[in-house]
Symmetry: C2
Subunit: 357 residues, 2 copies
């Protein structure tokens, strides 16, 4: 059993903690939180040991009637691996703490690639993580693009990638984020930083990216153009994408029009928080013009990095292969829209009554 502690119990941290709990080879030692809000309350509801991420604020938890198991140093001591899901920039500041305990740590995509030993997407470069002290699971957008581009590069060869990222303004609970009635070039300088970040995973891919931000909170959408070395067919592409366990090829018969319907489908399927761990790629959007491929995919910014964090935990130890780890993660988390719906059903719905009419 790998003992895993989660420092930072917000959007990503709470999802990673829940996912760790579901893995057969991992044990959640606890979660660290800066303040006793509703997320801390649900951590305790879930039976998680709660630690104060900032020792000086421990008294706030006591005042709110929440029992602490200790502070963040106690959590690090109790853990073989730390997943740091603190806000951007804080993870890098925490690195010294993890080094002092000689405990490997996984940071998130908000941190710079320069401050870690390796950047990580399970399906692409799992083996590079073995033995790292600091690993970085790249951002939701970089994860989504890497998952899409790697199989295309292996199958057809990539000459050039051009992506427009239509980004959500904030997560659903972030009431202090904008825009509320605008379409922002963001960043206005082109190309955006997203392309170079993809190159931390796929260094050979020639990619230019453009970013815009819109008044939406549910998911990002990527408009993707890939010029390939050899011309594909639509059906061969659908077959290729259909074989990727972390790409959900959205069939037109499902009548899923946008990001809200995607979230609704995930919630209806019994997924916790309506999470979409896969790239959601509209099959109808796949178009081929000679060697040019066009498509649109949607990325759930709160969720797609969760399976990658779980695989990153195993990758650090080097005891399982990428295929083994991804298969375990997919099975026990329930990744794979459609194929594993039976697993999801078994886990989340205990009392199905068949009709006997």
């Amino acid at each position: 059993m790998i003992r895993v502690g989660v420092n930072g119990y917000g959007t990503i941290g709470k999802r990673v903690a829940d996912a760790v709990r579901l893995q057969p080879d991992m044990q959640l030692t606890g979660v660290a939180k800066t303040r006793p809000n509703y997320e801390a309350a649900t951590a305790l509801q879930n039976g998680y040991a709660l630690y104060s991420a900032i020792p000086e604020r421990s008294h706030l938890f006591a005042e709110a009637g929440m029992e602490l198991a200790g502070d963040v140093d106690d959590l690090v001591r109790a853990s073989d691996v730390i997943v740091d899901a603190t806000p951007s920039g804080v993870g890098a500041e925490n690195a010294d703490r993890y080094r002092a305990h000689d405990t490997p740590a996984i940071l998130q995509g908000g941190e710079s690639a320069d401050c870690v030993d390796a950047s990580f997407v399970a399906g692409v470069n799992y083996d590079e993580a073995a033995g790292a002290d600091l690993l970085r699971v790249v951002s939701c957008n970089t994860t989504g693009l890497s998952r899409l581009l790697d199989p295309l590069d292996r199958e057809y060869g990539i000459e050039k990638v051009r992506v427009t990222l239509v980004r959500r303004g904030g997560d659903p609970g972030q009431t202090d984020r904008g825009p509320i009635n605008d379409i922002l070039p963001d960043p206005v300088t082109v190309p955006s930083h997203h392309g170079p970040d993809v190159n931390t995973i796929l260094p050979e891919v020639d990619i230019d990216t453009v970013g815009l931000t819109v008044p939406a909170t549910l998911m990002h959408v990527h408009s993707v153009n890939v010029t390939l070395d050899t011309a594909p067919t639509r059906s061969a592409l659908a077959d290729l994408f259909g074989r990727q366990s972390r790409i959900f090829l959205v069939d037109e018969t499902l009548d899923i029009d946008g990001t809200a319907d995607l979230k609704e489908f995930a919630a209806d399927s019994g997924r916790p928080r309506g999470d979409l761990w896969e790239n959601c790629l509209w099959q109808e959007s796949i178009a081929v013009e000679g060697t040019d491929l066009y498509l649109m995919q949607s990325i759930h910014q709160e969720a797609d990095v969760v399976p990658e964090n779980i695989d990153a935990i195993r990758a650090l130890g080097g005891e399982r292969t990428a295929d083994e780890s991804m298969a375990l993660t997919n099975e026990y988390l329930g990744v794979g829209m459609g194929s594993t719906s039976a697993d999801i059903r078994t886990r989340f719905s205990s009392a199905i009554q068949p009709a006997d009419d």
Copy 2:
């Protein structure tokens, strides 16, 4: 066991079907749907018998590879009670079908009060439903106002109610609804129809309502003023509301700022679809000026009528009291934010690992 069929498997129908499945004294005979979209797919994923709501469209399901158990008449024949969760106006059209089968049916709040034997909110007028052929579970807003006003009237006496309803424009998946950048007087005529609808449940209460619609999808918010016969205190009010199982008194220590945080809290608590079955009443908003009470409450339009539909099923038969039915519904659905989190946890999270550090 009461055999329950659900006609209409959209926003309300799928939630009622899931809730029926969880009740110890009910059996879900199946669900009827007009088209084979993703909701039909998840009905089959859930193991529900699927019926064609429009017999002429049965072939569409076959073409989508979905197996039907029959059409809606077969569903009605197999059921002791039908919950009709079809769009507004369709329920009234369906009434003849249910009468022809001599099967009692529960319609939703979009239907006129004139076309049913009684309108229903479990905590207020449960006993009036016994033996009805057609019952109407009132709208989300009327349900929420009735739950709030009935205990106030019993405890203090109500002289006058004035409510401004700040309404969501559409449900999250309704991409064809507006507004997207406006605040609409809706309806612009004052008072709005909401007050008279409350009077179908609480005929003696003097209530005027005003409606506005805003660019939001998650929940409605009510700004409520109640002039009482006798002056309350804030603490007595908090105590009164805290005793109502279908009111969630939102404590300030939870740091829940708005409707998005409410939904996030429900999802974090493991609730299916992040549903809030209770009125969500911000405790900080409760203010008393003499005999005038002010407060704000939030209503999850997709969810608050779900427990009422379950109680309505039992109320038709007249074999259980209101208290018995509400207690059963609350326990097996998991109503009661906080108090039944342990139940929710047990049902939805099977593999909690306590930390052993």
